[in-house]
Structure formats: C-alpha cells, structure tokens
C-alpha cells in the first residue's frame, strides 16, 4: 500500500576480535553482554535488520556501547561488516541494478562511488567529517568534486548556497572550520553532507555536546531541511528528546541487538522491552 524501502538492511553483524561460531548465540540483551564468553570477541552489531523508507526519519536509541554508532559506520562503509546485506534502492532508472546489489559485498571503488553519489553523513565529532584546516567552502568542494562536479564557478555557487541554507554567513566561506564554534562546525558538516543531494543522510549524535540553545538551532535546521528536501534520515542519538523531535519510527538497541522497533510515540509512551522501559523511565 505504500512505496518500497529506500534502504534494506539484513543480518548486519560486526564482530571485533577473532570471532567464533558461538559469538552471536552467546551475546545480546538476553545475555547482558556483547562479549562472547567463548572467544572474547566483542559483538558490536549482531544480526541487525531494518528498512528505511523514502522521506522517513528513523531514530536509533541506546546507551553507549549499544552498537548504534557502529551501525552508522557500517552503513557508511567507514568500517567493514563481518556479515550482512545492505541494499540501497534508487528511485530513478539505476534501480534494477542497485536493488539486488549487496553493497557490503561490493568492491572499494563501488562503495566509494555509492558513498559520494548517494549518501551523506554528519558525525558527532566535526573533525571526522571535516578537514579542520581547509576552508569551509573547500570542504564542500571536495565532496562535489568526488561526485563529479568540475566547474569551479558552479562549485563555488553551490557551496555558497549550501552554507546559506545551513545559516552560515557566506562571508566566512573561506575560513577553515577550526575557527568556527561547535554549532557552526556541525552546520558546515550538514552543508557538506547535503552537497550531493544524498538519498540517505546518516546523523550520528550530531547535537551531543552542544549548548542547549545551539542544539535547538541545529535540530530545527535538520527538521526544516528534512521537510523541504524530503530527506531520508537515520538519526542516532542517546537523547530521547532528539529522537522524539525528529524521528517518526524508532529502533532501540542494546548490546549490539535491536530490542524493539515501533512508531516513536509508541516506543516512548508504551515501551515493550524491559530495557526500553528503563530507558524511558530514566529520562530527566
């Protein structure tokens, strides 16, 4: 009755350490650990599966160590998955090929191509997403060049309009992010992530550590951009307030596993899993 998913993830698993056949069966919330008792490996993500639809905001919550940041990095190919499938369905003609292609198994060139043409990411630490000593315009240009933009005038115009969209004074386009405040750095990261008109935008704890008023401004910006550009977002946060504000559906993770998924108001008002009940009742 509604459109097909944009992103399908199945059995996504990341194990740090040697790994053994018993890892997945001996870790997770029911064992209260993500460390395999047989080989000592850490199961950061175990058999994670979900769909993300077009124009949808999916929240991922969980405490530190639940595997939510690992999940984002696997999806952005920042690290190699131990196992699993990731399908990115494209709305345009390229669909037939991408639909069946497991991107996690693709070669490095293909991953890079998909990453620069289809994805955007915003990290909690700006230094992961930006070159702090290169101008903010240059940071955006770098990404546009990766997505095959060639004309310097076009690139400069595009960078300027993106910075405007993310409320950065374009007079500061030639300043490096190092000279910016934390909130501004996040907004430059957002501008950079949006530069290639991504199908999928990944946000990893983007407002954690910012002052409350700065946090509010960044969240408002994300909300407005999502609505205007009809973006599909995966929003990772330990902050239930951020999830409530942004996400329509929410996934709760613990010890590398998804313990519950549902509509955000349902997960927050009537959490099913013992861990989510604890999480919600711990809110200030």
């Amino acid at each position: 009755m509604i459109n097909t998913p944009l992103l399908t993830v199945r059995n996504l698993t990341k194990i740090f350490g040697p790994g053994c056949p018993l890892c997945l069966g001996s870790t997770g919330p029911e064992f209260n650990t993500n460390v395999c008792s047989h080989c000592g490996s850490v199961v950061a993500c175990g058999n994670v599966a979900f769909n993300l639809y077009h124009n949808e905001v999916l929240g991922v919550v969980g405490e530190s160590g639940s595997g939510k940041s690992t999940l984002v990095r696997l999806l952005h190919f920042d690290m190699e998955a131990t196992a699993g499938e990731m399908l990115l369905h494209s709305p345009d003609g390229e669909g037939s090929r991408t639909t069946q292609e497991n991107l996690l198994a693709a070669n490095r060139y293909r991953k890079r191509q998909v990453q620069s043409a289809r994805m955007g990411i915003v990290y909690q630490q700006p230094q992961l997403g930006l070159r702090m000593d290169v101008t903010s315009g240059g940071n955006i240009a770098e990404r546009l060049i990766a997505a095959d933009w060639r004309s310097v005038a076009d690139i400069r115009r595009r960078a300027g309009s993106l910075l405007e969209k993310t409320e950065i004074d374009t007079r500061r386009m030639d300043d490096p992010p190092r000279n910016f405040s934390g909130g501004m750095q996040q907004r430059v990261q957002i501008a950079k992530a949006l530069s290639n008109n991504p199908l999928l935008l990944l946000l990893d704890e983007v407002t954690t550590g910012l002052d409350l008023s700065v946090q509010a401004r960044v969240l408002d910006l994300i909300r407005n951009l999502q609505r205007e550009l009809r973006l599909s977002l995966l929003v990772v946060s330990h902050d239930l307030g951020v999830i409530r504000l942004l996400a329509t559906r929410t996934m709760v993770m613990k010890y590398g596993s998804v313990v519950e998924t549902g509509l955000t108001d349902q997960v927050l008002e009537e959490p099913q899993h013992a861990y989510t009940q604890l999480l919600v009742s711990s809110q200030l």
Partner: protein, 235 residues
C-alpha cells in the same frame, strides 16, 4: 467505518517484576461514517487507552480494530505494520489530547499550519493564511499569532491544539478531552466547529467528562465500566 472487536489492552511493567495492569478487556463497538461516538466513564476505565490503541500509540494486546480506509480498503489496525499506520496517520486518522505538545520555538500560526505543509503540500503562504483564519475563528487574539504557544494560557493552548488537529481535516478524528480547560464561550466555539466538520463528513470518537458535551456532539455514547463498554444512550 470502524469496528472494535473484543479489543483488550494490558500493560506489562518489567520494572515492577513483570506486573500486569489491565487497561480494558474485550471492548466491542462500531462507528459509522460521519458519526460522532462519545466515550464516558470514570477515570481509569480505559477510555484514553482505547483511543491510543486505535492510533497505535499503544499496541493492543488482543482483539481487532477494523477500519475501512478510503484508499486502502479494510484494515486491522491492531496488527497493521508501522509504515501503513504512518500512512493512515498522514492521510486519514487524526488524534488530539488535552495537551498541546509542540516545539517551544514555533509560533502559534506555524504550529497550526504545520500539518497542512507536511500533508497537503500547500504553499507556506496559503497554509499560514488558513491557520490564521482558524485561530481567528477560535478567538485567539491576532497579536498572539506570532507568539509561542508555550507562553499562552491553558485555554488558549487548547484552542491552538484543536486548530492544529482539525486544519488538515482528517477523515477520522480521535478526541481525548480536548476541551478540558476551556471556558464556556470557548467550548461553544469548539462545539460549533466540530459539528460543522461532522456535517462536512468527518467521523469522530470523543472522550468528554462533561455530560453536556456528549449531548451537544455525540450521536451515541458508550459508557465504560471497569473493563467493558456498555451502550447506555442513543439519541
């Protein structure tokens, strides 16, 4: 249009040694198109939980909720998948509680215009114009349109809440005491508005504590005792 069939809801509280609390048990009733069904009953009888189960804020524990969707046919909301439920929330089913739950930084007129912008894809100017018109009709003073509803009185907030809930004209509207802190004058404005929307075709299920509101709005009233629904009035 909507049919509840032995619907039950219980809560499992893991933090209290798995204690189970029964909100309501095997409730059945039907709602015809363009009908206004009133729900009454003492606090704790499960009225709000019924509405939340229909809207999927709560997951039903048993029974069925059959809904005749305008575009998708007959659906069981008790087991419908999340995306399909979201589509219904977007296009057909609305919910309003007694609390205005919005972001503190947005002006009253934008709070009310927002459902139009995200659903009906109308222009920002048109959405704001219609929002202002509705606020005016509910007698929110014009100088408050650009102020933040968090700073409003309880009664003003509730009227903003009503405007936000009805502006996109959902096909089925679930109302959980939306007039609880309104004065007489404001209640009569809201009643007139709801009756007008009903004439235009909106179907509603409403919880009110004040019996006179049931008289003014409802075609039928179901009174809940602990656990089940009993049809007591029909007029």
């Amino acid at each position: 249009m909507l049919e509840l069939n032995n619907l039950s809801k219980s809560f499992h509280l893991h933090l209290f040694d798995g204690k189970v609390i029964q909100a309501f048990d095997r409730v059945s009733f039907a709602v015809q198109e363009q009908e206004f069904i009133g729900l009454s009953g003492p606090s704790g009888s499960g009225k709000s939980s019924i509405l939340k189960c229909i809207y999927r804020t709560y997951l039903p524990s048993g029974g069925e909720i059959w809904y005749d969707s305008r575009t998708h046919g007959r659906l069981n909301l008790a087991t419908l998948d999340d995306h399909a439920m979201l589509a219904l929330r977007r296009h057909e089913i609305g919910y309003i509680s007694q609390f205005l739950n919005v972001i503190p930084r947005i002006s009253a007129v934008d709070v009310v215009a927002e459902p139009l912008l995200s659903r009906n894809r109308c222009s920002e100017r048109e959405a704001r114009r219609r929002a202002a018109e509705l606020l005016e009709r509910l007698e929110i003073p014009a100088y408050l349109f650009d102020a933040h509803p968090a700073t409003f009185s309880g009664g003003e907030q509730q009227r903003v809440n009503v405007a936000r809930a009805v502006i996109w004209k959902p096909r089925l509207l679930l109302l959980d005491e939306p007039t609880a802190s309104l004065d007489k004058r404001s209640v009569s404005l809201v009643v007139a508005l709801l009756n007008e929307l009903k004439k235009e075709g909106m179907t509603m299920i409403g919880i009110f504590h004040d019996a006179s509101l049931h008289d003014a709005l409802a075609d039928k009233r179901y009174h809940l005792r602990k656990g089940d629904a009993h049809h007591v009035l029909c007029h």
